[in-house]
Assembly symmetry: C2
């Protein structure tokens, strides 16, 4: 079952303690769709400028990503420039040039409107709502957001969240959105805005999922080399939603498996710059790392 994703396709210029790259392929929709493509087909809605090279389109197509919804506009593609210091949990934004993204009005091709699995990446919540208004009867709507929208478009965001099933956001943003420092309480407040399931991304500390009847904690995979954390959150979401769409099963046990697959995908993408690790990754590696996360977390019950 294919997924619809709406978000950014961008050029990133990134500096980490381990190196520097300029104008590499990035953007939330790119990371998400490439990650999800290991599990299912993806329909991508985004905009690029006329400077966007065919080779990147070829890469996305080679991953089974449908690009009918990718608009090419006159002008330059969205560009982001950022730096990470040794604390790789924190990105320092140096420059943001929205370029063609500033006028982005997501329009869904007719063939995308039956989407059953939808991921609204971190864009203006008004645009997220416009997308939802073009989808007929989704089975699962997931979304991301950020401090910029929580501060600047809170009402629109709350309205959009009323139609979201699963919100995937950073820990600090959960607290900010709820206005509550305790994470467990904050999660309940955010869930009262609409999303039945809240997935809290904690960087190198992993993920907490607050579902209807339980909390699930998944660690990040401990890596000796974290090269570039850019896109880890969207790559996580791609594995998470990708697995759910592929298995067409939203029960709690499967949600937990999907969280672990998301964690696995994120652990790979940070090993290299841009989407480079995704270019060589195969499904056997993904399954092997899933098993290693199981070994990382298992302990015997009191009744063993």
């Amino acid at each position: 079952m294919s997924i619809l994703v709406v978000g950014s396709v961008a050029f990133d210029s990134i500096s980490t303690p381990f190196g520097t790259v300029d104008d590499v392929l990035g953007g939330s929709a790119c990371y998400f769709s490439t990650s999800a493509s290991f599990f299912t087909d993806v329909n991508l809605v985004a905009v690029v400028g006329d400077d966007f090279p065919e080779q990147h389109l070829d890469f996305l197509r080679s991953r089974g990503v449908d690009l009918e919804g990718l608009k090419k506009s006159a002008g330059r593609t969205f560009r982001w420039k950022g730096r990470y210091d040794y604390d790789l949990n924190e990105a320092h934004t140096l420059e943001t040039h929205l370029n063609v993204f500033e006028q982005f009005e997501p329009v869904l091709p007719a063939s995308y409107q039956d989407a059953e699995y939808v991921f609204l990446a971190n864009i203006d919540p008004e645009l997220q709502l416009e997308v939802l208004n073009q989808v007929k009867n989704p089975r699962l709507v997931a979304s991301d957001t950020m401090n910029f929208w929580i501060e600047g478009k809170r009402d629109a965001l709350i309205k959009t969240l009323g139609r979201v099933d699963t919100l995937v956001i950073n820990e600090a943003e959960v607290r900010q959105l709820a206005g509550e420092p305790n994470l467990v309480k904050a999660a309940e407040i955010v869930r009262s805005f609409g999303p039945k399931t809240l997935v809290v991304k904690r960087g190198e500390y992993g993920v907490l999922m607050f579902a209807e009847h339980s909390i699930f904690s998944a660690p990040a995979y401990p890596l000796e080399e974290v090269f570039d954390p850019t896109g880890a959150g969207d790559t996580f979401a791609g594995g998470f939603i990708g697995y759910l769409a592929a298995t067409r099963n939203l029960d709690e046990g499967n949600l937990r498996r999907a969280i672990v697959f998301g964690t696995v995908m994120a652990s790979f993408t940070v090993e290299q710059f841009s989407l480079d690790r995704m270019r060589t990754l195969n499904y056997e590696e993904i399954e092997n790392r899933y098993r290693r996360i199981q070994l990382l977390t298992e302990f015997s019950s009191l009744d063993d």
Copy 2:
């Protein structure tokens, strides 16, 4: 099998967003021994002043803590004053008065010298070594330390670590001790100093244990009310070592269980000021929370 613990017994004055208390029972050895007492007997080596009230001694005795090694010196008991803001992961020290602790020279009663399980709480590494020199043939030596000793007594610390089996320290201190920002690499460096097992405390993010052949990740128990984080690390260590001593089993599966019991104990102690939660806690509650941590972390294997 009883445990020997050496550390501080103190009066704490604590302010959190939820309240303020003055001169309540605290100190690393107190938190550790009370927590471990739910699993086994504890022999405590520490010093208090002549202002230390009998009621606190009665409490420790009621928990099965042997106080033959607790010296009463002329002068005032060690006092610590600290504040927590909404970020409860970080303690702001306002005042430290070592008082009688400044002249502390740990002397083990003859009956303690056969100790099989030893916990050297966060004190001067030279004193930690003096204690080890008085123990005949320990089966497990665990220790804690802090940035103050890493900076000020590095050589003594490294020497002591050469005789430690299990080091239990905070994440930032692992990085500092190793001089390496990546935690996985830092853990290998610290293990090369002596400890076969390194237990990394990450506050509300739980614990990572680096053992000989594997890494184990345990989450913290998500709490709606974290009232006072003081003593969480020593309470964790008390549950961890307490369970190991009670079961007399140091294989990897049992180390993992012990980590979870430590996590359980820490989750209780932060629910109230000082050791207050420990005063009412019972073993059934401990086992119930162990089971809840299992529910929090379990997910199905790929082969299910």
